[in-house]
Amino acid sequence: MSKLLLQGNQAIVYAAERAGLGFFAGYPITPASEILLEFVGRKRVKVLQMEDEIASINAIIGASLAGRKTMTATSGPGFSLMQESIGLAHMMEVPLVIVNVQRVGPSTGMPTFPAQGDIMQSRFGSHGDYCPIVFYPNSVEELYQHTFSAFNAAEESLSPVILLSDGFISHIYETVELKTYPTVDRTRPPLGMGRRHFTGLTHKDNTKPVTSDPEVHRALLRHLKKKCEDVSEKYNFYEYIGNDTADTLLISYGALSRAAYKFRDKYALFRPIRIFPIIKDLKEIAEQYESVIIMEMNLGQYRNQVESVVHKHVELVSLTGGKIDLKEIWDKLTAIKGRGRKRVSVAD
């Protein structure tokens, strides 16, 4: 098996091609541009540089319905432009992968600096109710691996799956073993093979819109939610490093979770890789510790979600502006009074 030194963004492309990608459409944006660039000249994938991100996502929805595995890649501003059509893809049950390499926002923010400001946007960015599957790896190797997860989950759930990254892990270089993971093939016949109607309007069985029957809408929502939740159970990816001597569980993900390893002797660590739907085991894990702290590169976007699952107060260490500094993290952790290593074990 070959090992290569790859940049995070490159690893996504290597994996996508091996996962069966047939069509990519995108629009340049830092820090995701290398993905579009890496596809240029690859014969197995049709590559389109579109006029904007709205065109990109709609082109991949069309290409997916036409039978290809499809992907687009962007960063926060482009991800915002895609939101309306992400809802459309959920309603029409179109499998596809959207890579969002996060940078500092809001707006144009700090384009070359990493952030984790699109957590809520990934979960709730489109209007209406839906239940997206979202992965957020923390290394180049994991970006490679979970690009396969994203494609497979998309096919199994017939829904758009989000692969989050950030300006840090997408831009570092690490060695990757180019493994081939099992892939899931398309089951639904491509466009042209039926008399179906794919619509963003409330509908029943791809036949015609039904826009004035609440029961039809409720049944559709239940179906969309259950389908994604059931499929997500097969992708229960997380990292948990227990700690008998600690009374606090420290949660982190993506780039920032790499810094968390430095504090593993003082805290138990939990790192979700599938960040949505939230890993159910987290509740039981959190119960083993007196307190829970979350660290994120935003003002607490995941904290609110985690609290609703663990049913207790979660302290926040917030690091914005694209800066990951161990001393600052340690100062902020210790400023949270009475947390960390169990006092008794210190006395022992």
Partner: protein
């Protein structure tokens, strides 16, 4: 005698009736498109229709084909994705003037630049019909709509110039000129690159009635008296309909 019901094999009759008002021009375009599909004997397994959002956007759901009803303005990039993913498909976009030229205008600009081989049928009723009759990008200067009670100040978009600038197929026709309408769609479907058929059509309820027309028929008579066919022109003038000369396809 010619069998006049053959178009029905392209129509999903069980989904009828359409949601359109009595006297609306949309049904005429729907039927003429089916007629054109029939004349070319298009393979139902190789033809896909795509619509945006609007009254006209509902047309995709009435074809007995695989059909896609996209978000507002996004029919063109969706159609391009379908076509490029499977070049064996005939991909036909049917949508409104607001959808294709307003919110989706940037996509038309670039799809025509790319000359993606898709057929676009634009329901040019000079109004945002579905949302109640707001001014649209094709509304004429002076047009009174609910958002321009003193008359529209802006010039309508020159979509002919845009399409022709990129050497694509452009035809203009109306819902009165039935034979011509069908011919325009047939020729557009035959064209190997991007083809745009601008169909002037009546929205009686949210446009026509407010500007003095009695009913749909009245509007059709207006088209009859206003538009003259000019075949093979380089550029159509106001009041002219026809299929313009196409340049060399890239």
């Amino acid at each position: 005698m010619e069998d006049t019901t053959r178009f029905k094999r392209f129509l999903k009759e069980k989904n009828l009736p359409t949601p359109w008002c009595p006297g609306c021009g949309n049904g005429i375009i729907l039927k003429s498109t089916c007629d054109a599909f029939d004349e070319l004997n298009l393979d139902t397994d190789k033809t896909v229709v795509v619509s945006g959002i609007g009254c006209s956007g509902r047309s995709a759901g009435f074809f007995n084909l695989d059909s896609v009803h996209t978000a507002h303005g996004r029919a063109i990039p969706m159609a391009e994705g379908i076509k490029i993913a499977n070049e064996n498909l005939h991909v036909v976009v049917l949508s409104g003037d607001g959808d294709l030229l307003g919110i989706g205008g940037n996509h038309l600009l670039h799809a025509s630049r790319r000359n993606t081989p898709i057929t676009i049928i634009c329901f040019s009723n000079e109004i945002y019909g579905m949302t109640g009759g707001q001014v649209s990008p094709t509304s004429k200067q002076g047009a009174k709509t609910i958002t321009t009670p003193d008359g529209c100040k802006d010039t309508p978009i020159n979509v002919q110039a845009l399409i022709k600038a990129h050497n694509c197929f452009y035809a203009r026709t109306t819902t009165f000129h039935l034979k011509h309408l069908k011919k325009c769609i047939v020729e557009a479907l035959r064209h190997p690159g991007l083809a745009f058929v601008d169909v002037i059509c009546q929205c009686i309820v949210n446009n026509g009635r407010r500007i003095g027309f009695k009913d749909g028929y009245d509007m059709l008579m207006h088209y009859k008296n206003t538009y003259k066919i000019n075949e093979n022109a380089d550029l159509l003038k106001e009041g002219e309909i026809g299929i313009t000369k196409v340049g060399v396809v890239k």
